[in-house]
Symmetry: C2
Subunit: 262 residues, 2 copies
DNA sequence: GCAAATTTGTTCGTATGTATT
DNA sequence: CAATACATACGAACAAATTTG
């Protein structure tokens, strides 16, 4: 026996899921049933199920059972457009209309405004010293009622201390978009941005908000926006669960943005 | 006790790793030692270590012990440039020079050329029927000796059956870049591309090649390149382990591409 | 609304196998 | 070959969450 028993059992169950013998949303036999089917101990069955969980096939609900995960229809965020250089996809203001275009229902939570000390990742991108005070605007975002992303934008404090962009301090949406608002209020026009895409495991807050297991994966995207002088005006950090989000980057001249096969 | 013991032990060990009390590359006490330190059974200790493994903090080596993972210096791939619309980052030909720019040593394996039946994901992007024959060019790529990515490009068969781009069939590098070669050989100029970014768990091949645990994460990026008529000339699928790869997308006008803080 | 039954979660003990030194 | 350390597997008991009667 090359492969240990728990891997064989996991593989067998995986096949039954792939072939549809165990349908999405359906329930697996209980641990005690599987224990008899496979002639193994309950712990071995549990090891097999743990494998299926971390591979993203099933979930267990205490007191209920083990269930095949439904295939989530992923949401696709476009990080770059070719036409409108300037503002891009996935951001606060454009979020609502962009999601609607994909025939899905977006919602956003209230904006939470805080003064914070910039941690190194943020400070370096905003080109301010670490632990400088910055304005933080945080928002939860949902699609069709499902938690979809967490977004936090950081702005240099001088934007508000100078008295020019004080609406950043109000805990309310800036419906025309912060890029547009900042251009009118400060004359600093957003002419470009750079996205830095990473993946990591979710922290405790993110696990709770998204309902993710501790060993799942989230995308973390740092967007640094620059004004016409090449000075960063803003850093936006957005966290997306990897199981329900995908991204598109368009470069050069392209045919119409058909959302074709996945 | 709200939290179960194995989570508390994992959390305690995690803190010791975060504070540097357990240094990167260093060895944890053996399971039997930890069993005494924490007054728990060996199974409970193992549950705690499993948590640390799936959170990416440690690895176990049978017969040796449990070790704190060294922080990998991630490689950053730029998916879009503002200047040169056309060819972009992370691709076959430009790979070697691009990696060298980051003061790291790139290597590539031999090109493996195959005729394949296009699976649906590929066929839809190339706009050919599923199971149509396509040319597949596959290559392994390394940085500083570490397996870094697996890349497979798919080309419509007509490019070679028409006798115009027969070098695609040769199992050798096309040093000037396939985009340049195809333009000369067929007159089809690459004027843009679209990247589709997803994350998933690695398959068995990928686990073996990259040395990844079965529950880790890889990025999978589908790049569809288009010619001046808006027709796809190529689909390139690249798989990157998420623990050692990050991506940048540039949009609009930007200051010099300083590779600043992470 | 409560008690019982069901199902998964945690913890222990033990034995044996496999990889490395 | 022996010692060490992790991997697999079994059995058992009790806890916690949920559903059922």
């Amino acid at each position: 026996m090359a492969e240990p028993m728990y891997k064989q059992i996991a593989e067998d169950l995986r096949k039954k899921i792939e072939t549809g013998e165990l349908a999405p949303g359906g329930q697996l036999p209980t641990e005690l049933d599987l224990r008899e089917s496979y002639n193994a101990s309950r712990n071995t069955i549990r090891d097999a199920i743990k494998r299926l969980i971390s591979s993203g096939y099933v979930e267990t609900r205490p007191g209920q059972g083990t269930f095949v995960l439904r295939n989530i229809d992923p949401f696709v965020t476009t990080l770059s457009r070719d036409k409108d250089s300037g503002l891009g996809g996935g951001e606060g203001a454009s979020y609502l209309s962009e999601v609607s275009k994909q025939h899905r229902t977006p919602e956003v939570g209230p904006v939470r405004v805080e003064m914070q000390l910039a941690r190194p990742e943020i400070a370096a991108r905003l080109r301010v010293p670490t632990d400088t005070q910055v304005v933080s605007r945080h928002q939860e975002r949902f699609i069709d009622g499902t938690p979809w992303s967490l977004q936090t934008s950081f702005y240099p404090m001088e934007l508000v201390t100078s008295g020019r962009a004080t609406r950043l301090l109000l805990a309310e949406d800036i419906t025309e978009g912060t890029a547009t608002y900042l251009e009118g209020a400060t004359g600093r026009k957003q002419v470009g941005y750079r996205d830095w895409i990473t993946a990591r495991t979710p922290d405790e807050n993110e696990q709770k908000f998204f309902g993710l297991p501790h060993d799942s994966t989230v995308f973390e995207i740092f967007r640094t926006a620059f004004d016409q002088s090449g000075v960063p005006t803003r850093v936006t950090v957005t966290v997306f669960p990897a199981d329900r989000n995908q991204f598109i980057v368009n470069v050069g001249t392209l045919p119409d943005p058909e959302y074709d096969a996945r």
